[in-house]
């Protein structure tokens, strides 16, 4: 979709969306109206960094520092794709 959104955008969970750990399934879940997302491990690491303050660029920087053998570009592409996918489903605001 709108892949051109700049890395200066601050992603947030809109009202009505909750990201929390489910101790019964031992997994992180993203809850939205009539929607349930079970993010994979990589997505969980990204979503844990969504705090309504960090910009997309800062999220990428943190992950790039953590996974030093992956080029920043690759991480940036993955992060952006994942955030856009969730935004299109109403589970994230960009």
């Amino acid at each position: 979709m709108n892949k051109a959104v700049s890395e200066t955008v601050v992603p947030t969970f809109p009202p009505g969306v909750k990201f929390r750990f489910d101790s019964v399934r031992n997994a992180w879940v993203l809850l939205a109206p009539e929607r349930l997302f079970m993010p994979d491990e990589q997505a969980v690491e990204i979503l844990k960094l969504v705090d309504g303050v960090r910009k997309i660029s800062e999220i990428i920087d943190i992950l790039a520092a953590r996974f030093a053998d992956t080029p920043r570009d690759v991480i940036a592409t993955d992060v952006s794709a994942m955030l856009h996918e969730l935004a299109a489903k109403g589970a994230l605001r960009l």
Binding site: M1, P15, R25, L31, P33, E34
Partner: protein
């Protein structure tokens, strides 16, 4: 035996009382009276058991759930238990103060139903004068409180032309999500099928409007669209599969795999008043009866869609064939599909009058169906 994955959602039908009388209500024809409803303590226990079992979403529904004075207490408990709390309401009993109380109790989301965009038509469908005006005010109050809002429109032959205006209204009210849901023909909807079933042209129009709006409003508004089965080639995965994702608790405490399951004659549904939720989910015969694929007849048994639509709706199979264990007649591969086509083709030119949903108003010819031998558990 393998452990059964826990349910994802629970629908708490707190009451069958409702000031509206929509002729497509999904409630059963035999409506529970106020005196038979579960008390507050029983519901609080259900909410505790649901969270422990692994339920993630709780939907407070009815009837009209805001008719229960204890609704904020139930929301507070659900929220404290970490459940996602959703209120499904017709709104007419709400005002700004009530919305604030729900917000303070921790409600996560409100789904508000509308009957139409024209007040006169909306009030006629709801069977309540002034309902539409009230709903508009309530929608604004919900947004003013900062709560996320879904607008739900139930679509049929009397309002299908106005789906564009429905989406425009949702947009102007700031709804983050809209449901354009064709009537589902069980419960009161089945009684009123001849009065409500849209034409194929109407159905195609609504689909086209929704597709265009989805493209236009991407990342702005989520639009969910629900089709009527009568023009379909394949059935819906009712409730995501029998006993697979959802559980419905009726006002009197009966636990069922779907809203309409009460219509399945010969079934006994367990009660939350004497059986723990976890036990019901794993062990109740009514939940196990159509779970998974082992129960399936042909053509489902060898079909590659059997774990996609799970053979469709059991209540629809029962309503149309008298046997809940047959392939849903909505499926073009079903040997009973002609029954479905015949209804669509026999749709009357002029719509008959509504049978409004009211306690004690169920037509005798519908409530006195014979018990088919094969529908027993």
């Amino acid at each position: 035996m393998n452990a059964i994955p826990p349910p994802l959602g629970i629908v708490c039908e707190l009451t069958h009382r409702c000031p509206l009388q929509c002729p497509y209500c999904s409630n059963p024809l035999e409506l529970a009276r106020a005196g038979a409803e579960l008390g507050t303590d029983a519901w609080l226990r259900v909410l505790d058991e649901a969270a422990a079992l692994g339920v993630l979403h709780v939907h407070f529904s009815g009837g009209e759930p805001t008719a229960r004075k204890d609704l904020p207490d139930l929301v507070r408990r659900a929220s404290a238990n970490g459940l996602y709390t959703n209120l499904i309401t017709a709104g007419v009993l709400l005002d700004a103060a009530a919305i604030d109380r729900l917000k303070a109790a921790g409600i996560d989301h409100i789904q508000l139903s509308f009957q139409d965009v024209i007040a006169e038509s909306a009030d006629r469908i709801a069977g309540l004068a002034g309902a539409h005006e009230r709903k508009l005010a309530v929608a604004k109050a919900i947004r003013q409180a900062g709560l996320p809002l879904t607008l739900n429109f139930v679509v049929h032959r009397h309002n299908a032309e106005r789906v564009p205006e429905m989406l425009a209204l949702a947009e102007s009210l700031g709804a983050a999500r809209t449901e354009i849901a064709h009537v589902q023909y069980y419960g009161w909807g089945l009684v009123n099928r001849a009065a409500l079933l849209p034409s194929r042209a109407q159905l195609e129009f609504t689909l086209q409007v929704v597709q265009e709006a989805r493209a236009r409003l991407a990342e702005k508004m989520v639009i969910d669209y629900v089709v009527p089965d009568y023009y379909a080639q394949r059935p819906k995965a009712c409730m995501g599969g029998w006993g697979r994702r959802e559980m419905v608790i009726t006002p009197t405490g009966k636990a069922m795999p779907c809203h309409a399951a009460d219509s399945l004659l010969g079934f006994e549904f367990p009660s939350v008043t004497d059986t723990p939720l976890a036990d019901i989910w794993s062990n109740a015969p009514a939940f196990r009866r159509f779970r998974g694929t082992d129960w399936m007849p042909e053509p489902c048994r060898s079909c590659d869609r059997r774990e996609i639509d799970w053979g469709g709706c059991r209540c629809q199979a029962f309503a149309m064939t008298g046997d809940a264990a047959r392939t849903d007649p909505a499926c073009a591969l079903s040997p009973d599909h002609a029954l479905m086509l015949a209804v669509a083709e026999g749709r009357p030119e002029a719509a008959p009058a509504f049978v409004y949903r009211r306690i004690g108003h169920a037509p005798a010819s519908v409530s006195a169906e014979p018990v088919p031998a094969e529908a027993t558990v």
